[in-house]
């Protein structure tokens, strides 16, 4: 390359450009996740403002227990690690191992959703009972929707990489990486949500 003039380099890049269509899907997904994060940011801002200026009305019930959400946090953090293992294995062409880790991730996601449901059904307040109850269900529900979509994506990827020559493989790992980035994002949101909703 050192012997090439800048013009030659441009020509080289141009030809390269013509042969291999550049893949900007990860960039697009990351931009989308920024937008998605802003939706959560809006919810968080609303909740924190309510907390600062709107006291709970007299007689309203709003109290949260810590054990179950702590378990949920652990479940999601572990699932991020298992997803990472799945990606490492796929890139090495170890589809069977990758599928094992994917299934573990989806299982952890499902366990999170079930645990969340258990929490919903044991709480002493419903969606429209008071302002904080509504905010709690809106935030966790919107996040749970994200977890559900993520779990579905994992299962789709799990199905698509069942053979080394399948749609998702060592040579085409974008779907897995996209689902992984999304999953890490959903986990990160949960950590913020856990701190804001349960700890402070």
């Amino acid at each position: 390359m050192t012997s090439l003039t800048p013009q030659d380099q441009i020509e080289h890049q141009l030809q390269h450009h013509e042969e291999e269509h550049p893949d900007h899907r990860m960039f697009g997904l990351a931009t989308f996740l920024v937008a998605d994060a802003m939706t959560f940011a809006g919810f968080f801002a609303a909740y924190l403002t309510f907390k600062a200026v709107n006291p709970l009305l007299p007689g309203a019930v709003y109290e949260l227990e810590l054990p179950l959400p702590t378990l949920n946090t652990i479940l999601l953090l572990v699932s991020s690690a298992t997803f990472h293992r799945a990606g490492v294995n796929l890139r090495q062409g170890l589809n069977e191992r990758c599928r094992y880790w994917l299934l573990a991730t989806a299982g952890l996601g499902l366990a999170f959703l079930i645990s969340q449901m258990v929490e919903y059904f044991t709480l002493p307040f419903g969606l429209a009972d008071n302002l904080y109850a509504s905010t709690f269900y809106a935030l966790t529900g919107f996040h749970g929707l994200h977890v559900t979509l993520g779990a579905l994506m994992i299962l789709i990827v799990w199905w698509q990489c069942r053979t080394p020559s399948g749609r998702v493989s060592a040579s085409n790992h974008f779907p897995l990486e996209a689902a992984e980035l999304y999953w890490h994002f959903v986990d990160g949101i949960w950590v913020i949500l856990f701190v804001i909703l349960y700890l402070i």
Binding site: F27, T31, A35, S134
Partner: protein, 556 residues
């Protein structure tokens, strides 16, 4: 000139897309087709929104509510605002011109995500039809385009829910479009093309898309919460249930103030393309233009509460938002003076595109001055929710954005169709629009200063004469659409043949055939490192200059 036209490569393989006029009704992924889909669809909604505006101005000819009942008036003004903002200006200045021009400007064959692009467009017609049809089926929303609770909670629910659904779809479309523009501008540039060599519209669209991606989702979340309040009787924004209406206003304006820049920044970009070409001068102050756009993006995100000075905002908040808003006048003023300096001493050809651009500069400066005035708390508290705000807002979005849309249509029509529009009709259109617009909205400043509230079908009889002036202006604006429509349609068949580059322009979209082929160029994309090198003798241009701005910095 500073162009590198590469050798011809073998012809592209046959396209799998539909051809002929049918492709404009198809799920086409061609950015030029999608751009025109946005434009024509947007213009159809402009006519609907204009008819609604006509109904409002007819009602306001007399001080009593005689042309339509009060609740219908509320529906009409809600639909007018929503249609004009979400279905006309935002899709057209972003979607239409952005999709048509940005791939040319970055030297690409299409947008980064063509299918997402088509999805983004095809969300708009159903959303628009949903919104319009709600008027006939359930009665449309009645709480204005801002949908402030508790008003939006107490007006009929069905129309409000349809309104929310429609705006959510349009917001989704906008976000998808924004993602596409950011990826295209940052990732799809032709090798060798640097960021500071891009035409100004790219920068405007990059800034706009950043605003879209950061602020539109907040509106979506807010409207979801509002719909819960309506449907599930939660109390987010319902004080009766312990909620807080001001939180809605904060979240709403966190989107809707940037939305003003989403409507007007692309217009800034388009004017920056049109003026240099027709003045035969480089765009003055390219670098300052770029930094001004980015400054507007940053400041535009932190001024939202200036819409809420009468909502019990604490003094520190009033102080902060007044100062931040006043700061926005600085980058905006820089851009304004840059356009004047571009015009200064140029060989200006006063065609329709330039007339509309100059009309934009005049109107926008008036709207900008009232904007700075409105940012001052003592003044704002006095005129809040009066016709002064209506006048200010229309000077920005009609006098600003819509004038630029017309200028752009006159300017790029030859590229799209290969034929020129009729200049006499174009100037007549400009005259009618400019006179009609100012006659319609200038008197509203006076009405507002004297205390006529906005959004009410009835008013104090002392305001009748001025309101009638305003309505005559609205009538002129309605009539002005006719020569334009005739011009667009007739010129497509009988206009003078334009050739590939009727304006002798240097920006890349003019360096291909008119209309451009599928995938934009027969060979490779030309490398345009200085899109504004007008009026500089050819032998003075330094072909190896590294940035676009160097040439006119050194060459003067």
């Amino acid at each position: 000139m500073t162009l590198t036209v590469p050798q011809q490569s073998p012809p592209a393989p046959q396209s799998l897309q539909p051809t002929g006029w049918l492709r404009y009704l198809s799920f086409s992924v061609d950015h030029k087709v999608i751009g025109l889909q946005y434009l024509v669809c947007g213009f159809a909604f402009y006519l609907i929104g204009g008819a609604l505006a006509g109904a409002i101005r007819t009602e306001l000819v007399s001080p009593i509510s005689d042309f339509m009942p009060r609740d219908v008036y509320n529906q009409v003004l809600t639909l007018h605002g929503t249609v004009m903002i979400f279905l006309w200006i935002v899709p057209v200045v972003n979607g239409a011109f952005g999709n048509y021009l940005i791939p040319f400007y970055v030297g690409a064959r299409d947008m980064a995500f063509p299918r997402l692009n088509a999805v983004a467009f095809w969300l708009i017609p159903p959303a628009g039809l949903l919104l319009i049809s709600s008027y006939f089926i359930t009665g449309a929303a009645q709480s204005g385009w801002t949908a402030y609770p508790p008003l939006s909670l107490t007006t009929p629910a069905a129309g409000q829910i349809i309104w929310i659904l429609s705006v959510l779809l349009l917001g989704g479309s906008s976000i998808f479009g924004g993602i596409n523009f950011i990826a295209t501008i940052l990732k799809l540039r032709r090798p060798g093309l640097k960021l500071m060599q891009l035409p100004m519209y790219c920068w405007a669209m990059l800034g706009t898309s950043i605003l879209v991606v950061l602020s539109t989702p907040v509106l979506a979340g807010t409207l979801i919460m509002l719909s819960f309040d309506i449907v599930a009787h939660t109390g987010f924004f319902n004080p009766g249930l312990g909620g807080n209406v001001v939180v809605y206003q904060h979240l709403f304006w966190f989107y809707s103030h940037p939305a003003v820049y989403i409507m007007v920044l692309p217009a800034f970009g388009l004017v920056s393309e049109i003026l240099p070409i027709h003045c035969r001068k480089p765009l003055f102050g390219y670098t300052t233009m770029v930094y001004s756009i980015m400054a507007i993006v940053v400041l535009g995100l932190v001024v939202w509460a200036h819409h809420m000075f009468t909502s019990g905002t604490p003094p520190w908040m009033r102080l902060f938002f007044t100062i931040a808003t006043a700061f926005i006048a600085v980058p905006t003023g820089i851009k304004f003076f840059n356009w004047l300096a571009t015009l200064w001493g140029g060989k200006i050809s006063l065609n329709s595109a330039v007339l509309f651009s100059c009309g934009f500069i005049v109107n926008f400066v008036l709207g900008g001055i009232t904007g700075v005035a409105l940012a001052q708390v003592p003044f704002d508290v006095h005129v809040h929710d009066t016709y002064f705000v209506v006048a200010h807002f229309h000077y920005i979005v009609y006098g600003g954005s819509v004038f630029v849309i017309f200028a752009s249509i006159y300017h790029w029509y030859p590229k799209v169709t290969g034929r020129l529009m009729n200049e006499h009709l174009g100037r007549f259109h400009f005259l009618l629009t400019f006179v009609g617009f100012n006659l319609c909205f200038a008197p509203q400043h006076w009405l507002g200063l004297n205390g006529m509230p906005r959004r009410v079908a009835e008013y104090d009889p002392q305001f009748q004469l001025i309101n009638q002036f305003s309505s005559v202006g609205a009538l002129l604006m309605a009539i002005s659409t006719l020569p334009f429509l005739w011009n667009v349609i007739a010129s497509a068949f009988r206009g003078d043949i334009a050739g590939d580059n009727p304006w002798n322009a240097l920006t890349p979209e003019w360096l291909t055939t008119s209309p451009p082929p599928v995938e934009n160029w027969k060979g490779d994309a030309p490398l345009v490192t200085n899109p504004y090198a007008y009026g500089t003798p050819e032998n003075e241009i330094d072909l190896s200059s590294v940035t676009g701005s160097d040439i006119w910095r050194n060459g003067q």
